[in-house]
Amino acid sequence: MSDLEIYRSKAAAWLATMAPEFGRDARKGLTEADDLALGRRYQKAKFDAGYAGINWPTEYGGQGLTHLEKVTFDAEEMKYGFPNFYFGISLGMPVPVLMQFGSDREFVKERVLKALQGEEIWCQLFSEPSGGSDLAGLRTKAEPDGNGWKINGQKVWTSWAHYSDYGVIVVRTDPTVPKHKGLTYFWVDMKAPGVTVRPIRLAGGDSHVNEVFFDDVKISDDHRMSPVGGGFAVAITTLMIERYVATDSAGFGPHLDLFVDLAKDIALNGKLAIQDGRIRQQIARNYAMRSGLDSINVRARLMMQAGMVPGAEGSLNKLVAVRSRQKLSELAIDLQGTDGFAFDEHASQKEDWASSWINAPTGRIAGGSDETLLNTIAEKVLGLPQDHRPDKGIPFNQIPA
């Protein structure tokens, strides 16, 4: 057994012992508040067992291991339906970015430790009503105010802002220069006076995203995590981490096995669906797509292990997987005929086809829409020309609205 395999089997064994207390069944019927509390306890248990911040530096409470151990653990963890999504954004982007760019190191250390133990949650305040894809087009502004800054404006789609203690935020500090150049990156205290969080209800029924309003919110200059006017680069670093996190070839929907089981159970026009050519074709094509992504991911892991830099094909993960999840979920509903109509708002997207289907569109938008991802591949990977951008090089305050 390789070291990594040993690591995997130890992790798997530990996770199995956690399942009764924190797994899917333990969560059934809990209110969101209770589920969050359970999630915090689970996160603490992970920390105590040495499975939090697996690839983070030990001086910040991490384990000092590599990305490989991290994704190995994640793959095993995914099987149990633990209440860990409350920390997905927090530990995924804002906290690592704080660790990299926060100036007051003692403060950073304290925050990171609390976040790793599930005590504090961070959110990412990038998108605005005026635009999410066009990140550099944001309008929330920070003006100098004494020794610090004063923030005014509105963010939107902020995941978990209603539970967050802190957030990282990009704001406009200079509207007279081209849009990328006038941005600055800060952290904010979500409980500060002038911050208002208002939940938005989503199509699937839940409300984990929010509008966040900033009304004369005062912050001191040590909240700044980039040079003044240099916020875009840090924002891009954050987004690069975000892309990298999305590696589930099922597109965060049900595993293909569940579809095969369904097809084995259901008779269509007098014969089992699993014998039906159309169904077989979809299973085969989905398998080929998913195995391709899995192989891309394994290869990336091996390359990293060997000290090489993985290729750009990792950027296909979310794009390809979520689109196909959406269609496979539709087909699964078709297969069940009128039985496919039944819906439980609280069912897991990873196990229930209707829930997977109704929530799939968010996956094609959040964390970069399909179109933005395709643009990135076309322009950054393949070197194709950029679209015409009338706002290029123009001072932000002169771009026609």
Binding site: R201, L268, D339, F343, A354, E371
Partner: protein, 364 residues
């Protein structure tokens, strides 16, 4: 019958659109999703008041003597406003079953009431995945029904059902008064469909057709409903295409309307293609109501309309970005309706089989 709408038909389209746009709103529809067993009563009142329930039924029994073409036009408008109560389609199907296969007494008893909308009719053919099972779950012994008809659209509110049952060694199409039938609501992703399981226990039923004729009759009725539904789906797809276009014209990113991005522009143009193909198939199928190849035309309409509505729902949400997945904006009403209509009258898998069987000369 011609496939060009005449003036009277165009007037039906314009008038029903005007009425429905004035009387339905997202605000009225959203709460229906959160309760089981409620439908949009103002829609049904409108349908009755405007005579839509009577439209395609014979004049001799209180109807207006028009046909699928006119009903389709109204269904198209109902689809545009996602309004609805599931009964326009299934009520029509149930009434047609009685008209075509019932006795004079059955017609006299039910047709005037169905025409006025005072009674609600539904069909119950499917057993879960199987839209038209050769051995249905519901059993007919003598003239009594037993068993459960699963997932009957409109079943929670209906007064009379046409049920495909398993008789002695063969299917039987039956007519059932639902007054004393046990109904279990089904909580689903589109609750305004009033879906229910109907539990029969020694429930009296009257046969409409027996054996092969029962299956043929059921397929014919399903075909009629499929064509009405295809119009509704096309209406939904059409309005989503328009909503997407309007949004692409106003929403700006990178200094321009998002409609200027080819990926967005082409997506909407592709929708146009899907909508127009579906519309053409619907018009054709409605005009073939009494023709020998009706079921082929119905299958084509149904398949293209299902594809159009599902795709339009997916793409319209996508073009809206984050705002597209919010509860209040209500695009999910269309998403949900696209899916419920996709499975209610036999899924695409079912209609593909019907179509290919016919084309290959293997009709069962």
């Amino acid at each position: 019958m011609t496939i060009l709408y005449d003036e009277g038909q165009q007037a039906i389209a314009t008038e029903s659109r005007r009425v429905l746009e004035a009387r339905s709103s997202i605000e009225a529809l959203l709460p229906l999703l959160e309760s089981v067993g409620e439908y949009h009563r103002p829609f049904w009142d409108t349908a009755k008041e405007q005579g839509w329930t009577a439209l395609a039924l014979p004049e001799t029994h209180g109807g207006l003597g028009l046909g699928l073409v006119e009903l389709g036009l109204i269904a198209h408008q109902a689809g545009r406003s996602v309004s609805g109560a599931p009964f326009l389609t299934s009520g029509f199907g149930a009434a047609k079953a009685i008209e075509l296969y019932g006795t004079e007494a059955q017609k006299e008893r039910w047709l005037p009431r169905l025409a006025s909308g005072e009674s609600i009719g539904v069909i119950a053919f499917a057993a879960g995945p199987d839209a038209l099972p050769s051995r249905p779950d519901v059993t007919l012994t003598g003239d009594l029904l037993d068993g459960v008809a699963r997932g009957v659209s409109g079943g929670l509110a209906a007064d009379v059902a046409v049920v495909l049952a398993n008789g002695p060694g063969m299917p039987v199409l039956t007519l059932v008064d639902l007054a004393d039938v046990e109904r279990t609501p089904v909580a689903g992703f589109d609750n305004s469909r009033c879906l229910a399981d109907l539990g029969f226990s020694s429930t009296p039923a009257e046969p409409l057709a027996v054996g092969h004729a029962a299956r043929d009759a059921a397929l014919h009725i399903l075909g009629l409903q499929a064509v009405v539904t295809a119009h509704e789906q096309t209406g939904g797809a059409e309005v989503l295409m328009e909503i997407a276009r309007d949004y692409a014209l106003t929403r700006r990113a990178f200094g321009q309307p998002i409609g200027a991005f080819q990926s967005v522009k082409h997506r909407i143009a592709e929708l146009y293609g899907l909508v127009e193909l579906a519309r053409a198939n619907c018009i054709h199928a409605a005009a073939r109501e009494s023709a020998a190849d009706f079921i082929i035309a119905a299958a084509a309409a149904r398949l293209s309309a299902t594809e159009a509505y599902d795709t339009a729902a997916r793409d319209c949400v996508q073009i809206h970005g984050g705002i597209g997945v919010t509860w209040e904006i209500g695009l999910h009403l269309h998403m949900r309706r696209a899916r419920s209509l996709a499975i209610e009258q036999g899924s695409s898998l079912f209609w593909e089989d019907v179509l290919v069987d016919r084309l290959a000369g293997e009709a069962a």
